[in-house]
């Protein structure tokens, strides 16, 4: 190889050509996701047209043309003119009613303490990395309800009694859902164990209980609690309206939770049961220390899901005459001072938004948990 003057050998790889502009960057992204075929193009154009048709009036109604403040105390006159959007001023004027119902104005510090301490306790409880889970859970599920009960009802330690008829709004929605879930978890676990029991009477009773409550709509359960419960009590006893609803909600919810827990029990491999009994643990000990901790861990997302439906279902107590968030809204909408064409829509949008924020964040949390638990061993 003597004559190599004209020869050129690359010593390094030629840099790759940039991909054609049509498949990268914004253009490529748009082509791939929006205009990949004729059908897709048609769908994209139709949905853009739909958005262009819906969004401007929606934004105008909710934000730009909405009435946000009522500095002069005009009330309804402010929202009555033609072309005015949502009447948010109404919401801010009546917000204490939506949160506390008829709770006396001077005593609002009591529900405030309950709500704030609930928030302070629930955040670390549902943060997986936060320490002291057990004391935290005891505080939230046992101490807080007892303290809240005395604080909210009053009549002890010299604080004025506030009958439950005066409770309302978001407060009662939260009370019903938290008490409902707290009471129904232990009942649900017992029912789930009963359903899987080898003892025929206990098994049959559990199945009957679970299937009965799961089969009927909550509204009939609430009707039952409100008209039949007083009949079932000894003569002369009166059952508080809120308590009736709580009994109905708890019975209903524990049947659903029982099925969720049963799912977790069935998902456990048989070896766990056998290992527990080969250690000589009694039935209750093996359940408490081996089976349930694993089974419940599996079904936490399911329990959160149940809690979401319970939270939404609390709105039904308005049908039996309790003033929950939805019912306070319903009654505030009849306010003559604020009467205006957009009032109803505004009210329902606000109530929906409150429910949505709670339920959506819970469902996000449950997805987060699912992903987190998914990586662990099964």
């Amino acid at each position: 190889m003597s004559d190599d003057t004209a020869r050129f050998v690359r010593t390094e790889m030629a840099p790759a050509e940039r991909p054609p502009i049509r498949v990268t960057g914004l253009i490529g992204w748009v082509r791939k996701h929006l205009f990949s075929s004729i059908g897709n193009t048609v769908l994209t154009l139709l949905s853009i047209a739909f958005l262009a048709w819906v969004m401007p009036p929606l934004l105008n109604f909710l934000v730009f043309k909405a009435v946000w403040t009522d500095p002069d105390g005009l009330k309804g006159d402010l929202c009555r003119p033609e072309g005015v959007g949502a009447c948010w001023a109404f919401i801010s004027a009546r917000i204490t009613f939506f949160v506390y119902g008829f709770y006396p104005q001077t005593e609002l510090w009591r529900p405030n303490i309950v709500l704030i301490s609930g928030l302070v306790l629930i955040v670390p409880l549902f943060t997986p990395k936060a320490p002291y889970k057990v004391p935290n859970a005891i505080l939230f599920f046992i101490v807080l309800p007892i303290v809240s009960f005395f604080l909210l009802t009053g009549g002890v330690f010299g604080i004025t009694p506030v009958p439950t008829e005066k409770w309302g709004g978001l407060l009662i929605t939260l009370v019903i859902s938290v008490v409902g879930i707290t009471c129904s978890i232990p009942i649900g676990i017992l029912l789930a164990l009963g359903r899987r029991s080898r003892l025929p009477i206990i098994k049959t009773l559990s199945i009957l209980f679970i299937e009965l409550w799961r089969a009927v709509p909550l509204i009939t359960v609430l009707f039952m609690a409100s008209v039949m419960l007083p009949l079932f009590m000894p003569q002369g006893t009166t059952v508080d309206k809120l308590l009736r609803a709580l009994v109905g909600v708890t019975l209903f919810e524990s049947a659903y939770l029982a099925e969720v827990v049963r799912g977790g029990l069935q998902a456990l491999p048989r070896g766990q049961y056998e290992a527990a009994s080969s250690l000589g643990l009694s039935y209750w000990k093996s359940m408490a220390f081996v089976i349930l901790p694993q089974a419940i861990k599996h079904v936490i997302p399911g329990i959160v899901g149940n809690f979401i439906s319970l939270f939404k279902d609390t709105s039904l107590v308005s049908i039996v005459g309790l003033f929950d968030l939805l019912n306070t809204m319903q009654s505030a909408l009849g306010d003559q001072d604020w009467l205006s064409p957009n009032l109803t829509v505004t009210g329902y949008i606000f109530a929906g938004l409150v429910f949505w924020v709670f339920c959506f964040s819970m469902s996000r949390y449950s997805r987060f948990l699912e992903r987190r638990l998914d990586t662990g061993h099964r």
């Binding site: 990949s36 003892l199 089969a215």
Partner: protein, 395 residues
């Protein structure tokens, strides 16, 4: 426990530590407690009823109800008995459930597929819709449709009229309605014959395909049968179906069918809400079928349609059907919320008006619960049969 002599003697447990004996004792205790609870409840109920001068029993069902119901599928008036009111309510519940299930299934499948669409705008829209509506209580949505939308519709004079046939105003939604004559029954008969024939053709074609490998265009043939036979039946029978169209007469629209706002709000709320859950079920079902299944079917030489029909859809359906049925059941149970917007379904008519009039709380609530219990147990019985049929046949 001493273990030294364990291999010589069978372990002797104390009588009370024997699991069998303990089981019996536990059960006796529980059964005793339950019986005691029932006795307590019943004796209280009897005392309370005596104190209120009331009696128990279902004899009131034959008494005259004395109230009218504005939406009914069977003849009913003030002079009818409580049985009649019960039947009207039950049929209305079934109507709402039936229509709601069909519409929610269609809308839910569309949404579920849209959420999986490769078109991002479509899938975003579907996601936003699903995540918004499923996180707001159904009752609130019903109130919204009823009080904020349908009740704010214009008066009769300013009704919205679409295509001169659909009318929407404060009194409800007026739609054209077919007026059938006696001979229409022949067209119905022809339709039944066509459906039977279509199944027969499909069966025959499948047999032939398995025996000889020859294909037969089942889809097109059956489409032809299902169109031609009923149309021929209709034409030959000489039946004449006309449509009654809503027309403004005096102060109200006449003709057509008036769907009251209560019904429209209830069905609309149920469908829009339940469809979000169905959409998630459909999405999960489709995602549950492994991609390898499609590829395996393709490598067997099945064509696109057969791949979907024989491999993908049956597996997706195995995942979809059980939760779908429980959504159907939920929809049926949720139709009881019609009571909140004043639609006369079972809970409203029976556990509402009839209960207020007669005061027979125990009887009426039990009967109402029994109805829902029957729906639920019937559905789960069907579901168990289905599950047994489609369960994975494992080695």
């Amino acid at each position: 426990m001493t273990t030294t002599a364990a291999h010589l003697d069978p372990p002797r447990t104390a009588f009370l530590n024997d699991p069998v004996v303990r089981g019996v004792i536990y059960q006796i205790i529980v059964a005793g407690l339950v019986v005691a609870l029932f006795v307590f409840i019943l004796s209280n109920a009897v005392q309370n009823l005596v104190a209120q001068n009331k009696t128990m029993g279902f004899d009131f069902l034959n008494q005259v109800a004395g109230f009218d119901i504005f939406f009914k599928l069977i003849p009913y008036d003030r002079a009818s008995s409580y049985w009649g009111a019960f039947a009207v309510g039950l049929l209305n519940t079934l109507l709402v459930a039936f229509v709601g299930i069909i519409l929610a299934t269609i809308w839910g499948f569309i949404l579920g597929i849209a959420r999986l669409s490769s078109n991002l705008i479509i899938s975003w829209l579907a996601t936003i819709y699903i995540e918004t509506l499923r996180n707001i209580p159904l009752l609130l949505q019903l109130y919204f449709w009823y009080f904020a939308v349908l009740k704010t519709m214009p008066n009769v004079k300013q009704s919205f009229v679409y295509f001169d046939t659909f009318v929407l105003n404060k009194r409800g939604f007026f739609v054209p309605w077919p007026v059938l004559d006696d001979r229409f029954i022949y067209a119905v008969g022809a339709t039944v014959v066509a459906i039977v024939a279509a199944f027969a053709v499909r069966r025959w074609a499948l047999r032939r395909l398995e025996a000889t490998g020859k294909r037969f265009p089942v889809g097109w043939t059956n489409l032809g049968i299902l169109i031609v036979v009923p149309v021929a039946g209709y034409l030959l029978s000489g039946s004449h179906v006309t449509f009654s169209i809503p027309v403004l007469k005096g102060f109200n629209y006449e003709g057509g069918e008036d769907l009251p706002p209560e019904l429209v709000a209830l069905v609309m709320g149920l469908v829009l809400y339940t469809a979000t859950f169905i959409a998630e079920i459909v999405r999960a079902g489709i995602l549950a079928v492994n991609k390898g299944q499609t590829e395996a079917a393709a490598s067997l030489g099945l064509r696109e349609g057969d791949r979907l029909r024989l491999v993908v859809v049956p597996q997706a359906m195995r995942v979809i059907i059980p939760p779908l049925t429980s959504q159907y059941l939920n929809l049926t149970k949720n139709s009881s919320l019609g009571a909140a917007v004043g639609f006369p379904e079972l809970v409203n008519v029976f556990a509402g008006t009839a209960l207020n009039q007669t005061g027979r709380a125990i009887e009426i609530i039990s009967l109402t619960m029994l109805v829902y219990l029957t729906f639920s147990l019937g559905t789960s019985a069907l579901m168990n049969i289905y599950n047994a049929r489609v369960a994975l046949k494992e080695r």
